[in-house]
């Protein structure tokens, strides 16, 4: 593994990492056993007793809101014999009753019912019922209404880990004091390795003029013309990074956001929640965020296509999770996100913009997935074990950047203007950091037994 991590740190990616069973096992044991992973947004479970079921690889989690509106993330496995206590993916329920033996858990996880406790176990003599609950996710954090979990009980503090990425996360998921509304997700499986989407959204502005030429040709979205795309700044900050477009409007918070289609009242609300520095990103520096990735597998996109024949421009935000299914298969979860108190006509136009561009039917996404499936299919073979893919754009042979960092971006992190694979290398360095550490040790937990027995 050391050869692989050393290679990716040099910007040379062994092609087989995109479809290899051993690499995938290491990712499961070392990356996803530790990483903070997105599960759901609070707006998906708006009312008391609402729930969704989400996964971190093969681990199924119930994400619930209890009667007191508190959020819980619990392992969806009955502590008795292992049946899933919930087999729906969303709904409303005060309790979850296991179909196998009718053990019943409240939606805060507490064991509420155990049939024939006295007859079958001799009561607490055989099984201590008091204080038992479904296994909680080891670590949970909520930011901008986004619920994250880590399988590592000793996971780093979420906000510390998020670091300067928080600055950009707010652009996508904190646009109003009223918070955001997440709709979806659309879910579909693609025969592609999960890393490719994550890296692509993190910094690949170079693919846009070629892969997405068709959306320019049909005048759906005019920005990705090659010469325009390369004026954008690529930034990475904390455990993530992203791409921007340089706006033709130049400097100006209101003019920039207005150009991409936000109505005044929404810009007023952004001004309420964003710091002066955050406003300056879309303002004085004149760069508008587009795609971004938060390591390991959560991505964001913000574009502003034309959504009707009269020329209406509407921006949209999508949040997407590249959920690994296997070395050569990914389940894409794609949400549409919008400020909860945006005007209804804006929501409708923005939603239409999303559906036309991204998601299962989106005209950008269709061509992205074609690339990723093709890469993954080809990465399975023997020749791919010999090929080191070049991820060095923006570096000279000595490993020095070919241009200086961009001054005047006015936002945290490292920024370069023009095409480059700085961000993809940063993503791979984070991957290399985790995949070279042994998996965290987990203590087994027994239920219903006295302490001296466990």
């Amino acid at each position: 593994m050391q050869a692989v991590t050393a290679s990716v740190r040099r910007g040379l990616i062994p092609a087989y990492v995109y479809n290899d069973a051993q690499i995938y096992e290491l990712e499961r044991d070392r990356v996803f056993s530790r990483a903070w992973t997105f599960l759901a947004h609070e707006s998906e479970i708006p009312g008391p007793d609402d729930f969704v079921v989400r996964h971190i690889l093969d681990d199924s989690f119930l994400v619930t809101r209890d009667q007191d509106r508190r959020i819980h993330v619990m392992f969806n496995m009955c502590v008795h014999r292992g049946m899933q206590v919930c087999r729906a993916e969303k709904g409303t329920a005060k309790t979850f009753r296991c179909p196998y033996h009718a053990w019943t858990f409240k939606n805060d996880g507490t064991l509420a019912g155990l049939p024939f406790h006295v007859d079958a176990y001799g009561g607490d003599e055989g099984f201590v019922k008091e204080g038992q609950a479904l296994l909680s996710a080891p670590s949970v954090a909520i930011r901008n209404g986004m619920i994250f979990a880590s399988l590592d009980p000793d996971a780093p503090d979420f906000d510390t880990w998020l670091g300067d990425f928080a600055f950009y996360l707010d652009f996508y998921t904190a646009q109003s004091p009223a918070g955001m509304e997440f709709r979806g997700p659309q879910r579909w499986r693609v025969e592609a390795n999960w890393k490719i989407g994550a890296e692509n959204f993190m910094g690949d502005s170079y693919h846009t003029p070629q892969t997405h030429a068709s959306v320019v040709d049909i005048r759906l979205f005019g920005e990705p013309k090659p010469n325009k795309r390369k004026e954008g700044v690529l930034w990475h900050a904390g455990p993530g990074g992203g791409t921007t477009y340089k706006l033709p409007t130049g400097a100006g918070f209101r003019s920039g956001l207005g150009y991409v289609g936000y109505p005044d009242m929404m810009i007023d609300r952004m001004a309420e929640v964003w710091s002066p520095a955050q406003q300056a990103l879309a303002g004085e520096s004149g760069f508008m965020p587009s795609a971004a990735t938060l390591f390991p597998n959560l991505s964001f996109v913000h574009n502003w296509p034309q959504v009707d024949a009269d020329g209406l421009i509407a921006p949209f935000i999508s949040v997407r999770l590249w959920q690994p299914i296997g070395p050569g298969e990914t389940e894409v979860h794609s949400w549409f996100a919008v400020a909860a108190d945006a005007p209804e006509d804006f929501k409708a136009a923005s939603y239409k913009a999303y559906l036309m561009c991204f998601g299962s039917s989106g005209m950008f996404e269709q061509d992205d997935v074609e690339n990723w499936v093709s890469i993954t299919t080809t990465a399975r073979g023997s020749m791919a074990r010999r090929l080191l893919l070049n991820n060095r754009m923006g570096l000279n042979h000595d490993g020095e950047p070919i241009i200086d960092q961009y001054e005047g971006f006015g936002a945290p992190g490292t920024a370069y203007q023009g095409y480059g694979e700085h961000n993809q290398r940063h993503w791979f360095s984070l991957w290399a950091d985790l995949i070279s550490q042994p998996a965290p040790e987990m203590e087994a937990i027994a239920f219903g037994v006295r302490e001296e027995q466990s």
Binding site: R87, A88, E89, K90, G91, T92, A93, R183, G184, P185, Q186, R187, W188, R189, V190, E191, A192, T211, A213, S214, V215, D217, I218, L220, V307, D308, A309, E331, F336, Y351, K352, L355, M356, G359, S360, S361, M363, E365, Q366, D367, V369, E370, N371, V373, T377
Partner: protein, 177 residues
């Protein structure tokens, strides 16, 4: 099926209106299988609504078997036309080489809503084969259409598609159902 107010029983299969509706669906499938997208657009009413909500795995009896606020398709004539225009560029990579498509249409039931409006239910199974390395994919769906009589024959005014998967097993929806 989507709740449209309609009579409980379909009209007789020998009724010419049922025959015309069935022929419309079969001819439409032919256009889609042979990439005659411009001709397909001609079959659409200018006010077309073409929708396919996301299905979810819900507990029996739960209200929400599909998401009310998220679709795979929620299209009007502008967005459908853009999708067709894209297929006609030289840069719509996902369909170059093209998928081999077959729309199998069956289970047609026709209901008369008014003198010039038919409500038509059908099942569609789309077989999609791409390239020579990946397994073919299939999409199974029910459809409820409103067909309107015009001087040029029937036109499609609304199509509500009920997809039979909560997680699609096809790489994208660069297709129409």
């Amino acid at each position: 099926m989507t709740a449209l107010s309609q009579p409980t029983a379909p009209i007789d299969y020998m009724d010419p209106r049922h025959q015309r509706a069935t022929q419309f669906l079969v001819e439409e499938a032919h256009l889609l299988d042979t990439s005659q997208f411009e001709a397909w657009l001609e079959l659409l009413d200018p006010g077309i609504r073409y929708r396919m909500p996301v299905r979810v795995t819900a507990m029996k009896g739960a209200d929400e078997a599909e998401l009310s606020t998220m679709h795979h398709f929620d299209e009007d004539l502008y967005s459908l036309r853009k999708r067709v225009e894209r297929f006609q560029t030289d840069t719509a990579w996902t369909e170059d080489p093209q998928s081999r498509l077959r729309h199998h249409v069956s289970n047609v039931r026709t209901f008369v809503r008014s003198e010039d409006e038919l409500v038509v239910e059908s099942a569609v199974l789309l077989y999609r084969s791409r390239g020579d390395r990946t397994a073919p994919s299939m999409l199974s769906a029910g459809r409820t259409d409103v067909l309107v009589a015009t001087v040029d024959g029937l036109n499609l005014r609304t199509r509500d598609i009920v997809i039979d998967e909560s997680v699609l097993r096809t790489q994208n929806l660069a297709i129409f159902l």
